[in-house]
């Protein structure tokens, strides 16, 4: 039997979930369809998790608009959803004279983009701020508003809030066909057919494939891979700010940053690739990243690597986000949300709802009262569940049995160990499962399936 909705969002990455949340909170009946076994199966699974001010974004772009709107909405709602903010600031560092002369332009661009507190700092100020940095750092632009957030809890909180407002999330529901009958979309998925008046394509790395279900797409996703190396916890004491390079014509360069989980990471690379799923790490690149990190922060030489990962940016040939309403088709395309979508997602959602109201249907006059669905905190600098006691299962990340059980329960339970990791941090630490993987898996299976 077909289920009918006002809105169907295809894709449960951070962008799709933020859109779902907005529509649900506006009082529409919506569903999100995700092909993966869990939400965050695509680009949103592995990123740098920086909350950007947009200081270096292309001026006047939709991207800049969405990032800034998203930035402010995140700050506005984060406490009500228990989402963390690690206030780090960023420094764009000049490592040589060529880069030093470019700093004033970077500041000018920031000012033009409305980031008015960006300022130049001297080598002395930089050293006082970041005493562990290699001495070859010559000066910097300080951007106080750049911060670090939790890449997984934010979209999870958006999903939970959408569900609380009546939205449905169907996982394992790849949309394979879209047909229009009597003004309604019929979407075929392995979980059955879904009917909706308006469809939002937020399929990230597969947005062009999904677009091709209804018409010849006018864009192509050209994934760009980013690899990362994560250092063990003591490394995070070596750095305060996010360290950004001066961008060159060719590349934006790699970033050194603290993670919300109390580590320090370097990345991402920018590599053209055909991979759209399961991005591959390669040893040579990882070794290079590690060496680069040590060159910038020499004390890292004595710190172990905790984790490696890679993410795929859903890039297109277009230099801006693609957010477009296809009026005749009752379809909104949201594609090419490359490297700033975690920040931009809430802003993108605002735009999409506006587009909808303009072209496809009125929003209900009376907004339902907002329901807030706080998520468990995973941030290292804030209060975590283990602090109140309980049995610790994952000894490196201090994850309790109760957290594992909670992640296996509720309206959007984790479906596998990857999902569990993103909801709890379990097995993410320095031992990578040597001590606890077996215990964690069996506790998870027991909570989820009732069998150890």
């Amino acid at each position: 039997m077909s289920q009918r909705f006002d809105i169907a969002v295809i894709g449960c990455g951070v962008v799709g979930l933020a859109i779902l949340r907005r529509f649900a909170m506006a009082g529409l009946k919506c569903v999100a369809l995700e092909k993966g076994a869990d939400i965050l199966s695509g680009a949103s699974k592995g990123n740098s998790a920086l909350l950007h001010t947009g200081f270096d974004a292309p001026p006047k772009s939709i991207e800049l608009q969405c990032m800034q709107a998203g930035y402010f909405e995140y700050l506005d709602i984060r406490q009500k959803l228990n989402l963390p903010l690690l206030e780090t600031s960023a420094v764009v560092i000049a490592w040589n004279d060529d880069e030093l002369v470019k700093l004033p332009d970077i500041r000018e661009k920031a000012l033009a983009n409305g980031v008015t507190d960006a300022k130049l700092i001297s080598q002395t100020e930089l050293r006082m701020r970041e005493p562990q940095l290699a001495k070859s750092a010559l000066g910097a632009v300080l951007v106080p508003g750049e911060h670090v957030i939790d890449p997984w809890s934010a979209p999870l909180a958006y999903a939970h809030q959408a569900i609380a407002h009546g939205a449905e999330i169907m996982r394992g529901a790849e949309v394979t066909k879209a047909t229009k009958q009597e003004g309604e979309w019929h979407l075929a998925t392995p979980k059955g057919e879904v009917t909706a008046r308006t469809v939002i394509n937020a399929a990230g790395l597969f947005a062009d494939h999904v677009e091709a279900l209804i018409h010849e797409p006018d864009f192509e996703i050209k994934p760009r891979k980013g690899q990362f190396v994560v250092f063990d916890k003591p490394a995070s004491k070596l750095l305060r700010s996010i360290v950004l390079p001066v961008p060159t014509e060719r590349t934006k360069g790699v970033v050194l940053f603290r993670t919300i989980f109390g580590n320090l990471a370097i990345g991402p690379t920018a590599e053209e690739t055909d991979e759209r799923e399961n991005p591959i790490n390669d040893t040579a690149t990882l070794e290079r990243l590690k060496a680069t990190a040590i060159a910038m922060l020499p004390a890292l030489k004595h710190v172990d690597v905790t984790a490696i990962y890679a993410g795929l940016r859903p890039a297109t040939a277009n230099s801006d986000y693609i957010i477009r309403a296809h009026k005749a088709e009752n379809w909104i395309t949201v594609a090419g949300i490359r490297s700033t979508g975690l920040t931009g997602s809430l802003g993108i959602a605002q735009q999409v709802v506006k587009l909808y109201a303009k072209h496809f249907g009125k929003l209900p006059k009376k907004l339902p009262a907002a329901i807030w669905t706080p998520v468990p905190n995973l941030a290292e600098h804030a209060i975590r569940p283990y602090m109140k006691g309980g049995e610790i299962l994952c000894h490196c990340e201090w994850v309790t049995r109760a957290e594992v059980a909670a992640a296996a329960d509720g309206p959007l339970p984790a479906t596998d160990i990857g999902g569990l990791k993103r909801r709890t941090r379990a097995t993410m630490g320095r031992c990578q499962g040597f001590y606890c993987a077996a215990y964690v898996t069996s506790a998870f299976d027991k909570a989820r399936y009732g069998t150890p």
Binding site: L286, I308, Q432, G433, A438, T441
Partner: protein, 305 residues
């Protein structure tokens, strides 16, 4: 603040034998803190033979040795499900238990936190993130504690004697390792181990480097480089053995001075902090349980002459 004369961190063979020897020589107020639900350390999940309390290798299984140790130490103050989170700046311990977090101090603190193997990430091995890549520690917990059958045709990487322990686990599972990949390493096991591997029917490949692990949702193959040539080997799991490194969570922030990746110690197991001692595998090498226990007895003489 709760205070004791000796706190031992870790109830593995080293910590337990230190505690036992201390109590036998009349020391009072010795407390052992163990983060697992049960004392015994690594041997709890080494289901094969090879352990002995008074010499290097013997015919006891790990779990037998662990329960012998628990028996011998009944009556001592051993607190399980109790994790030492960190040393505080004033030298006390921040301790987590099911009740919450407290601070405990001691005249003397013994670090007996053991070792772990180097993970795939720390080895910077490329490829996809996949199920079926694990260390021996995880494997043995799955097999001997969880009764799982995680694979049929694994590749075993490593040439230290612990790789042999992995082979024994495979035999227990009736799994047929595709090969034992002996990378060029510092701690290569003596040749009788590779003789042993061949006796168990496993091909030993030396001088190769594991480049990448590939597959879709689970491991399907590995890529290795040998004599400058790349080669693909099909398998359904990869067990990364050895390259042990000290469990450094409590001192990697610089609280104790280090020697390589282990706490620096002078004779008598003394670390750079006057009241902190380190014993057993936390010193950075994989020694046998028997040897770690002997170290514990020696340390007890230093602590309570």
């Amino acid at each position: 603040m709760e205070h004791h004369s000796v706190i031992i961190i870790g109830a593995g063979p080293a910590g337990l034998s230190t505690a036992l020897a201390l109590c036998q020589s009349g020391a009072k107020d010795v407390v052992v803190l163990e983060r697992e639900t049960q004392a015994g350390g690594i041997p709890r999940h080494c289901g094969h033979k090879g352990f002995a309390p008074y010499k290097n290798f013997g015919l006891m299984t790990g779990p037998n040795l662990a329960s012998l140790l628990r028996e011998q130490t009944t009556g001592l103050d051993i607190r399980t499900s109790t994790t030492v989170l960190e040393f505080t700046l004033r030298g006390s311990l921040r301790v987590h238990s099911t009740q919450g977090i407290t601070e405990i101090s001691a005249d003397k603190i013994v670090l007996a936190a053991g070792t772990r193997e180097t993970s795939r990430a720390a080895r910077l091995i490329g490829g996809n993130k996949l199920k079926g890549v694990m260390n021996t520690g995880e494997l043995q917990q799955r097999v001997y504690l969880g009764g799982e059958h995680p694979f049929r045709r694994p590749v075993i990487v490593g040439s230290e004697w612990v790789s042999y322990s992995t082979l024994l686990t495979c035999r227990h599972l009736h799994a047929k390792p595709v090969m034992l990949l002996a990378e060029d390493g510092e701690n290569a096991a003596p040749s009788y181990f590779s003789f042993g591997a061949r006796l168990l029917g496993t091909k030993v490949v030396r001088g190769a480097k594991l480049i990448a692990i590939r597959g879709n949702s689970a491991v399907e193959a590995i890529e290795i480089e040998r004599f400058g040539k790349q080669q693909t080997v099909e398998c359904d799991a990869v067990v990364l053995t050895g390259k042990f490194r000290s469990e450094d969570a409590l001192y990697s922030n610089g609280y104790l001075e280090r020697n390589g990746y282990a706490p620096a110690v002078t004779d008598g197991f003394k670390t750079s902090k006057p009241n902190v001692y380190a014993v057993g595998n936390v010193l950075g090498h994989l020694e046998t349980a028997g040897l770690c226990m002997a170290q514990g007895r020696e340390l007890a003489k230093v602590l309570f002459p």
